[in-house]
């Protein structure tokens, strides 16, 4: 196993490699991955802290029903990362706590 702390990739059918930016870090993903999958395979996260208590959260259901993997994707906050396919050059930011007064709306 390459790295015990991350999700590892088994032998897969050939696919295009996509580079996206997660928290400013270049991450290679497989075309067809969701953004949430790319975060897990890069070993990044917890991917947000909650607006209520600031407790850390990561992806939980991977099928769009728990809303735990909300991230800011290409400038759009609260996007479900498990429902968003990766794209070349995509910019992904983790969300920390509640939005602060005066913070720019996108």
């Amino acid at each position: 196993m390459a790295n015990d702390s991350t999700f590892n990739r088994l032998a897969t059918a050939p696919a295009t490699s996509v580079t996206l930016w997660i928290e400013g870090q270049a991450v290679k993903a497989r075309a067809g991955d969701s953004v949430a999958a790319a975060v897990l395979s890069a070993g990044l996260g917890p991917s947000r802290t909650t607006p209520v208590s600031g407790s850390p959260r990561g992806a939980y259901c991977m099928m769009g029903v728990c809303f735990e993997c909300l991230m800011e994707i290409n400038g759009r906050a609260n996007t479900q990362a498990c429902m968003t396919p990766v794209e070349e050059g995509m910019q992904v930011l983790f969300q920390q706590g509640a939005r602060q007064p005066g913070e720019a709306l996108v």
Binding site: M1, D4, S5, T6, F7, N8, R9, L10, A11, T12, A13, A15, R30, G32, D33, S34, A37, L40, S41, G43, G45, P46, S47, T50, V52, S53, S55, P56, R57, G58, A59, Y60, C61, M62, M63, G64, V65, C66, F67, E68, L70, R76, N78, M83, P85
Partner: protein, 464 residues
């Protein structure tokens, strides 16, 4: 902008939606299938049209059987709207969807709701810790990305998927540290009462027996009658260990990923938002829409098929989709009643065969009490961070039901719109007030059933 119109709009491209679309198109109906994923298949057959894993042995033959449904859908003359979510449905015959950030309306004569199941929320202390994920999520990562969870991996819960995922990970060469089976011993005895049905569904029973044998051969320790499940985080905030009790012995295991599972429940968000009548299924401990023999709900022209109509599995879902399509074709004068009934007969036979084992499985794998009505300190509403203790407290103060609980506690008011807490809140209120869950009821689910931006709303050509 003029809106497109179809005879039949189908929400969800899982087995029920795919089979219904193919059947309906064959009868000459115009059909649109709207699905959240890029590829048809649903969760059970996810990506089966273009399998990701090179080794087909890992997921097993049941998965690859779904390819026939995908091929039939691809060959059919239908409109497949991918990567799209439906956020509003009107009983007057239109729905609103967003595709690639752009929203539009679709008009229909008949609607089939087939969004499938979701995993039952599994509240226990620490279940919000990063690294705690569902067994279904591990399968999704395998099917759509070929990713395996960070080791050490522990699985905890109850139900066929728990055993299947343990075997699939093991086939992929992932060392599963342990399977913590939370099925209460008493359930084995109560399930025996339904052994007749289990024997009629012997093919499925055999699959279960084979999984248990494979698990044993693989050397993965399976600890039975486990209770008192708790996840503990390390300094980095991610899960570091899982604590539990077996018999009178407290134990703990180090882990980086804890995969949990307590069965699946119908996804009723859309059927609820449409105010279809639902009934409480005490055996499956979930709500299901009230349907006639063809899958039509309490609103004329609105059908529900597959696991969103009650858990029956992929093979039953497929046939339920076909039944609904036959009835729609008859209603829209594309098929006479005699031919409809003739075609329905073998389909009904298959459904009965597929559902025969359900009472056995439903009794055996009903979640243990600690997951239905968790301890006071357990978070119930993950979004708004409301504990079971707070729900019990407001219930004692006379809170009338789940909808009032929203106002009292904010439970159910976060982004998941109650998907992760609705069942638990109702269970807790029923427990405190000494009534059945059926009497307590459920949240009023309102449109939009998916979060949308103001821009997506503004894009829309609303009816005059």
């Amino acid at each position: 902008m003029s809106s497109e119109r179809v005879d039949l709009a189908i929400i969800g491209a899982g087995p029920a939606g795919m089979a219904a679309a193919t059947e309906a198109a064959a009868s000459g109906l115009s059909v649109a299938v709207i699905d959240e994923q890029p590829q048809a298949g649903g969760q059970i057959y996810r990506n089966v049209g273009e399998p990701v894993l090179q080794d087909p042995h890992i997921l097993g033959t049941d998965y690859y059987q779904g390819a026939a449904l995908v091929r039939a859908l691809q060959a059919a003359t239908i409109t497949h709207i991918r990567n799209a979510s439906v956020w509003e449905v009107s009983p007057t015959g239109y729905l609103c969807l967003t595709e690639a950030g752009v929203s539009r309306r679709l008009l229909f004569s008949r609607l089939l709701i087939a969004p499938g199941a979701q995993e039952r929320p599994v509240p226990f202390p620490g279940w919000t810790t990063p690294g705690v994920m569902t067994c279904g999520s591990a399968q999704i990562l395998l099917k759509s990305s070929g990713l395996t969870p960070a080791a050490p991996v522990v699985l905890a819960g109850s139900g066929p998927l728990l055993l299947l995922v343990a075997c699939q990970l093991s086939r992929a060469g992932i060392p599963v540290a342990a399977v913590l089976d939370t099925t209460p011993t008493a359930h084995y005895w109560s399930a025996l009462a339904e052994l007749g049905g289990a024997l009629r569904g012997w093919q499925q029973l055999l699959k279960g027996v084979r999984l248990l044998a494979e698990l044993k051969r693989s050397g993965i320790p399976r600890l039975t009658a486990v209770n008192g499940l708790r996840a503990e985080a390390g300094e980095d905030g991610k899960i570091a260990k899982v604590c539990f009790r077996q018999g009178d012995r407290d134990q703990q295991l180090d882990c980086t990923t804890l995969l949990v599972h307590q069965g699946v429940v119908p996804n009723v968000q859309l059927s609820r938002a449409l105010k279809l009548e639902h009934r409480w299924d005490a055996l499956q401990q979930c709500w299901r829409p009230q349907l006639d023999a063809w899958g039509e709900g309490s609103l004329a022209g609105v059908f529900v098929a597959g696991d969103s109509a009650g858990i029956g599995g992929a093979l039953a879902a497929e046939q339920q989709g076909r039944l609904a399509a036959l009835q729609v074709a008859q209603q829209l004068n594309k098929l006479d009643a005699r031919l409809r009934d003739q075609r329905a007969a073998p389909i009904r036979k298959t459904i009965a065969q597929q559902l025969a084992i359900r009472p056995f499985l439903d009794r055996l794998y009903q979640p243990a009490g600690e997951f239905l009505r968790p301890s006071d300190q357990t978070l119930v509403c993950r979004c708004e961070e409301v504990t079971a203790g707070e729900i019990r407290s407001i219930a004692r103060q006379g809170c009338a039901g789940p909808n009032q609980a929203k106002a009292f506690s904010r439970a159910g008011m976060g982004p998941c719109q109650g998907r992760q807490c609705g069942l638990t809140v109702a269970q807790l209120m029923a427990e405190v007030q000494g009534v059945s869950v059926a009497e307590v009821g459920y949240y009023n689910i309102r449109m939009p059933v998916k979060p949308i931006t103001l821009g997506e709303l503004a894009d829309l050509d609303l009816p005059a």
